[in-house]
């Protein structure tokens, strides 16, 4: 038998598709073989559209679900657009899961600050499903979510449901809004000091644009969080996800295999440098 080729995708079908925002869709796709159904929140897959190309996309669904994988994709270029246009029953190629996940087991007993910007809520949604399922394992849980404008808010219905819960604090903010927006206006890092968490026992998971994560991490450090208690999900160009193509390097870090979820101390000194 020839050795396995990790670059070869597996065909899976689109089971369902949902429009989330103007250019953002969630696809439910088959998991493929059972042994590939399980994933850790924070991990990603390489998704291939026939004849177009292949891109990294994070899991956005419930890690306890075994019959489908969810991917929330924003159309920004050829491959992501083609993904969002796949009809139900169409086939795509999938390989994974890849990369590191959020340290959910290590964070048990601690308070959690889940901080997302824009589409960054998608890779954190599996965390929410997990921590709400095992709610008693965690202390206070806060979700701080920022988007550019009210029309960019992802998973609105779910956010409303989460907001109604007593055991979860949800804060949504937008950078700009008209007077019809009743909620908070302001960028995420600026809201960090208002969260009022117990700095000595809080673990923070950050996912969003790099600048937002960098500024949020500084704000968290200023608020007294330990560097080792801050985790970021990084993004870099990826062609293989196996540690072979070299594209995803960020300093000495291979974002595809050492990340995408990385503890802040691993990134210290790198985040502040231009063009690294």
């Amino acid at each position: 038998m020839p050795p396995p080729d990790f670059m070869m995708p597996m065909p899976v079908k689109v089971m369902q598709r949902r429009q989330e925002l103007a250019t953002t869709w969630t696809l439910d796709v088959e998991t493929g073989p059972d042994e590939l159904a399980a994933f850790t929140p924070g991990q990603f897959n390489m998704l291939y559209v026939f004849g177009v190309g292949e891109i990294p996309v994070s899991f956005s669904g419930d890690p306890a679900g075994r019959d489908r994988h969810c991917f929330t994709v924003r159309a920004v270029g050829p491959v992501s657009r083609a993904l969002t246009e796949l009809p139900i029953a169409a086939s795509l190629g999938k390989r994974g899961p890849y990369g590191t996940g959020w340290p959910l087991a290590a964070a048990e007993g601690a308070d959690l600050a889940l901080i997302a910007g824009g589409l960054g809520l998608a890779p954190l949604r599996p965390v929410l499903y997990h921590v709400l399922r095992y709610r008693q394992r965690y202390g206070r849980i806060t979700l701080l979510y920022g988007t550019r404008s009210p029309s960019d808010i992802l998973f609105r219905d779910e956010l409303d449901g989460w907001r109604r819960r007593q055991d979860l604090e949800v804060r949504v903010t937008v950078d700009h809004a008209g007077s019809e927006w009743p909620g908070q206006v302001g960028v995420v890092p600026a809201l960090v000091p208002t969260l009022g968490f117990d700095a000595s026992n809080t673990v923070a998971f950050l996912c969003g644009p790099e600048v937002m994560m960098r500024l949020t991490a500084s704000a968290l450090l200023d608020a007294g969080l330990a560097p080792a208690g801050i985790y970021l999900s990084m993004e870099r160009n990826m062609k293989c996800a196996l540690g072979h193509c070299g594209h995803c390097q960020f300093g000495g870090v291979f974002v595809c295999k050492d990340g995408p979820v990385l503890p802040y101390p691993r990134l210290r000194g790198l985040l502040s440098l231009q063009e690294l």
């Binding site: 020839p2 050795p3 396995p4 670059m7 070869m8 004849g51 086939s91 795509l92 070299g246 000495g252």
Partner: protein, 380 residues
């Protein structure tokens, strides 16, 4: 001493017998040859194809062949090719996808890996192969094609009898003496006796091939001559890398003005990465047929000097030549250590010789070292 270690002396006839013994074992024998005024690696069947009687002149941005009078078969340093093109080809098919209505099928398109016998692998190159082994076979995911090629390869190593003008393997502790990782190792002896080769075996397969060669036993004089060859080469390195903690030096100086200086000269042409025997970056390309029913995926060598390399939606992370040169050199000499446990540079000098403007990484390191704000060699 392992029980497959043996030494013997052969003549050029013996060298021809060696090639034939390898061909008989259905290896594709690959060795140095002259093409387009440079010494490159290609398949061969006869010692007459070797660049006998040729040497090379190398310097920053300069390479020229010149004849030599002593009839040496291996009297030159490394050329623009390295063995990576055989273990990890510049362009390769990965798979084909076929679309039939809503269904997709994927088919493995990797060709059967050839079995190579490499003739004349230098110490720096053995180290480069060991480095790429760690990249492609050292972690959770192994590259199956690389692994198959690698495991099938028979290596005839060579102790260098001539250091090139850009060589600095000695200061990278990667040569000029071959130590491990070969099936057979040759040292070409031109002095103290007739033109001959000392052969050492380094594996059971090597020992078996060696037993078939017309040979005589080694004398003390042969061993001494071989030792002198390596020592002479060690002393004639064209370049040296500064003797300092290079990873610390570079990582402490990521904003050093020298990066701006080198960016003024660098053309971002990617030659250095293509000729480097350890650079491993690749990209994938898709092609599809007009009917829209088949699509293929290929992999080809890529370089951190291209604009697309670091592209993220909205623009490349590394827009400037400064940041790309810094990425290349700090990866090679600093972050590689963190990733794979050794430097990514073996001191072969190719990137210096084949840089169109003669940028010399040993010089760049020296410049940073000598002007490091943290003091000479006392970075960190």
């Amino acid at each position: 001493m392992d029980d497959y270690n043996d030494t013997a002396v052969i003549t050029s006839e013996g060298l021809q017998c060696l090639i034939e013994a390898l061909l008989n074992r259905s290896y594709q024998v690959v060795g140095p040859q002259i093409r387009d005024q440079a010494i490159v690696y290609d398949t061969l069947t006869d010692i007459d194809q070797l660049p006998q009687g040729w040497s090379d002149e190398q310097d920053g941005g300069h390479y020229r062949l010149r004849p030599r009078a002593d009839g040496a078969y291996f009297g030159y340093a490394v050329g623009p090719h390295s063995w990576k093109r055989f273990l990890y080809p510049p362009h390769q098919s990965l798979w084909q996808a076929n679309k039939d209505g809503d269904r997709l099928y994927f088919k493995d398109e990797r060709p059967d890996p050839p079995r190579f016998a490499f003739l004349g692998v230098r110490a720096c190159e053995l180290n480069a192969i060991a480095i790429q082994d760690r990249v492609f076979m050292g972690d959770a995911y192994s590259d199956p094609d690389y692994q198959a090629r690698r495991e099938g390869t028979f290596i005839v190593a060579l102790n260098c009898s001539e250091a090139g003008g850009t060589c600095f393997c000695a200061s990278m502790a990667c040569g000029p003496e071959v130590k491990t990782g070969f099936d057979l190792a040759l040292t070409e002896l031109l002095n103290e006796g007739p033109h001959r080769f000392l052969v050492e075996s380094g594996s059971p397969a090597g020992l078996e091939v060696m037993a078939e060669l017309p040979r005589r036993n080694t004398t003390r004089a042969d061993l001494q001559a071989a030792w002198a060859v390596v020592e002479n080469t060690r002393r004639s390195m064209g370049r040296t890398m500064p003797d300092t903690d290079i990873p610390a030096l570079l990582l402490d100086n990521l904003t050093h003005p020298r990066w701006d200086d080198v960016a003024q000269r660098c053309l971002s042409c990617a030659n250095c990465t293509m000729v480097c025997p350890t650079c491993f970056c690749s990209t994938v390309e898709d092609s599809s047929d007009l009917a829209g029913t088949t699509a293929e995926r290929h992999r080809r060598w890529d370089s951190c000097f291209t604009a697309d390399f670091s592209y993220l939606h909205g623009g490349s992370v590394r827009q400037s030549t400064r940041s790309r040169y810094r990425q290349w050199m700090t990866h090679k000499l600093a972050t590689w250590v963190e990733q794979f446990g050794s430097s990514g540079c073996v001191g072969c000098g190719r990137c210096i010789t084949w840089c169109p403007v003669g940028i010399d990484l040993t010089e760049e390191v020296r410049a940073i070292h000598d002007t490091s704000p943290k003091g000479k060699g006392e970075a960190r």
